[in-house]
Every structure is written in structure tokens, then in C-alpha cells.
Symmetry: none
Subunit: 143 residues, 4 copies
């Protein structure tokens, strides 16, 4: 795969939401962005608060814009909180340095986009995002 | 139905995209928003320009925020362009007074949300949005 | 070419500015964006007003986000001014429906990005943008 | 020199990117702003994440707006994080208090603009920005 198509994105989103159900999480929401940071697909599960799109997109957007997964962003934000604040400003609020933002690469290592998942703890959000990416053959998740 | 659930939103989005294929449109994108204007689901078809999310959401957002479908918004914008400009400002750019934004009501007339579709001509966008809403039993489309 | 590299973007920018000098225009400015709408290169000539970056980027951004060159955007804006206003809102001000925004495709027709040029009349801006794109072998300008 | 011209800015940008290559950094991006905070030139190297323009400009913008290099901004942000947050808001997100933003003065001490470089560690970003400024005779870098 050289870029994410809608069929792949649907599977990512639905596998991420299904993983949340399987491991007993609160209802999940997931966004998939292309390599330029533009939204391809999003779903918010039933019985979730309304603000999920903004958080899910922000987790994925920061990952794409920096080519860094949520863990690396979280480490950066803990080491240098003022940099995290500055990135939030530079990216107009579309930055969320927490587990749950996962970079999507193809087998050759090329960045195809990112997934952002939110709904439960950061660890569970990340597990669901990774499960989503791994549901599509040939994609590699970088949490 | 008293509020849109994800299953209904998936059917709306997928029926809207399928309608576009069926009537020979350019590839479509569709967003569904709840009664509070917050995104529940979005999909962008393959081979579309990257800016589809912003337009699809804006079409649906204006519909929900004003309880007016795209046609009524378009008529308003033609009669009073300065009001349309002001609404764009008031809604922070999430306003798109054109066919393709369709209000979603239940059988009792209650507003449950809105759909925004973009990809082809305004008339075709509207036809796809209406087809999406009508794919779910009990929902009424107000274009 | 499957995506714009910096060497190509430098040639586009410099050829656009040189074209302006060659045809006797006021000093030019040019921005090149990738297929996701993100800036790769920009230059503002000497003796220009300071606001050139925002205009040049906006011309290119609208082209990439809609897959429409400046002429098509201008025609849209003339036919339906309220749609142009709405697009400006949806794209957060990064929309400038005027000649001078030129889509960049490769020989196979794939959109690689866009160029936005500003400094003189819309016709001259467009001529410079096209000259920039055509300075790179294998690129096709869609004004 | 009493103000930055495009030729000087090109040399700054290209020398900054070349310095990164010379010292083995990840690919660099560099923006040059004039004394009013407006962009004159920007380049993003190949194989970089797409969000570089926003960060590079923000580093330079804060330097110009405050007449403080990145080091001084970083010290301020560490001593008074809430001031850094406020500056990010006041400058609409165009503030990045980290090494890599370098003020550009002429020999007489007059501020002519600033350079913002991003791509590797803050120390390396700063080294590249300084190398860029020092590539132009008569310019003094204030990191």
C-alpha cells in the first residue's frame, strides 16, 4: 500500500472500536488521517461524550505532523511541557501528546497517515489504535 | 429513534457514498453530526481532494445549528449575503449554505442531527445526502 | 515524480519569480505546497508588501484542498459568491479564489501539490505560476 | 545591510540546511522572517514530516516579536511557564520558546528579522540557524 484507502480506514476504525469492546473499555472513538493530516474516516461509539472527534483528530494530527507516535509525544511533553504547549499553538490546537495517537507506516517504512483513538485510559486507547492498524495487512503501527 | 446511534450513522454515510456511485457522481464524502453539532461519523471516498472533511462538516453544522437544511440556507444566503457571512463568522467557519446539508428528523419531527455531503454538484450532493438519511427507517430528510 | 521534492520546489519558486522579472511585473512571491496542503517552499521578492506569504499560500491551499486551479475557483466564486465565502471559512482563511493558484500534477495526472503566486495582476500571477511549474520536467500545470 | 533581502534569506536558508547535512542531523527546515514578523523565505528538506513550516515560523516569530532569541525565550518559559502560555495565545500560536529561533541583527545591532530552524535536537537546530545567519556577511546571530 502506498496510501491509505477508505476500505483500509474503515477496517482500522472498526477494529479499534471492536478491540475496545473486547477488552472491556468504555466506548471508543477513532479517527484516521492521511499523510498530509487530512481526515479520511471517523467514528464515535454510542454513549460517548460529544467532544471525541476533536481529541481523536488531535492525537492523530500531532503524530502525522511530527512523525512521532503518542508515546514519543508524551515523553516530549513530560520532559518539556512548554514545547507541548507551543506545539498546540503552532498546530492550532490539533495536538494531543498522549498515548492513543499511532503513526501508520507501510512495510517499507513510509508514513501513510495516523490513527487517533480516545475513550478510555491512554494505555487502552493505544491498544485499540494499534489493534486497528494491525487489522490491515501490510500496515505497521508506531505507537 | 430519539437520537442517532453509530449504526444508523454508518448506514447514512455508506448509503450516501453508494448513491453517488449509483448515479455516476464524482467520489463522495459524508459527515453525520448529532443534534449538538458534534461529529459522529465521517468518510472520504478514494480519489477525492483532501479538503472534504471541512466542507462536509460545515454543511451539516450549519443545518444543525440553525435547524435549516441546505436549501433554506442557500435561499437565506442569496437573499441576505451579509447574514451568511456573519453566520460563517459566528460559527467559526463551520457554515456552508449550499445544497448537500440535510437536516435529520425522526418521525415525530424532532431534530436528531444533520448530514453533510460534498463531491459533485450541489444537486447531486443533496441527492446523496437524502439517500443516506432515507436508508435508515424512521428518519426523515429535510434538504 | 510521485511527490514534489525540495529541488523541484526551488526551481518552481525561482522560475516563477524570474518570469515576473522577464515580463516586467511587480516583484513576485511564490509558495509551493505538497498534496496535503503543507508548505514546502516560499520566497518573497524584495520591495514587496509584507502580506505576501498569506496570499500565496491561500491561493495554493485552495487549489490543493479542492483539486481546482485558480481559474476554476474564480469561476466558482463569481457564480456563487457565498460559496467562496463559505470555503474561506471552512479552510480558516486559507482560500483565495483568483488566478495565480495552479495545481501541480505529474504526467500520470496525480496531484502532487500546488503553487500560489501573487504580486501583479491575476493574469500575470498565473503566467508566473505556470512558468514555475513548467520549469520542472514532468510536471503539468493546471491553472 | 539595513533590511534582509531575498538573496540574503536564500543564503541563510540554504546554509542552515547544509549545516544540518554537514553535522549529520535529520533533514532540516528553515524560515526567515523580516523585522515585522512576516515570512520572506522558507524551505523544508525532503523526507521531513509535514508540520515543519508551522514550527519553524513560530520559532522565528517569537524571536522577532520579543527581540529575544530562542535561548532567552526558553529561559523565560522555564522560569514562568504561564507567561509562555500567554505569549502563545497573544501571538495566535506563533510562539515556540526553544533553541532554534535566532534573532538576526546587523553590525550596528539593529534587528533585521529572525530565523527559525527545526528538524533535529534543539541544540542542533540552533547550530544550523546560527550557521545560516553567519553565512551572510554583516549579519549577527543572537541565539
Amino acid at each position: 500500500m502506498t496510501e491509505l484507502n477508505l476500505e483500509a480506514c474503515r477496517r482500522i476504525v472498526q477494529a479499534a472500536l471492536a478491540k475496545g469492546v473486547a477488552i472491556g473499555c468504555a466506548p471508543m472513538s477513532a479517527a484516521v488521517l492521511d499523510a498530509g493530516g487530512n481526515v479520511i474516516a471517523f467514528e464515535r461509539a454510542d454513549d460517548t461524550p460529544p467532544g471525541r472527534f476533536e481529541v481523536a483528530r488531535a492525537k492523530a494530527y500531532g503524530a502525522v505532523m511530527l512523525h512521532k507516535g503518542g508515546r514519543a509525544q508524551e515523553a516530549l511533553a513530560e520532559a518539556r511541557p512548554q514545547v507541548a504547549t507551543a506545539l498546540g499553538g503552532a498546530f492550532d490546537g490539533k495536538f494531543f501528546p498522549l498515548k492513543g495517537g499511532v503513526l501508520v507506516r507501510n512495510a517499507a517504512g513510509r508514513v501513510l497517515g495516523a490513527v487517533g483513538v480516545t475513550g478510555d485510559s491512554p494505555d487502552n486507547d493505544e491498544a485499540c489504535a494499534v489493534a486497528g492498524v494491525e487489522a490491515v495487512e501490510g500496515l505497521v503501527a508506531e505507537p
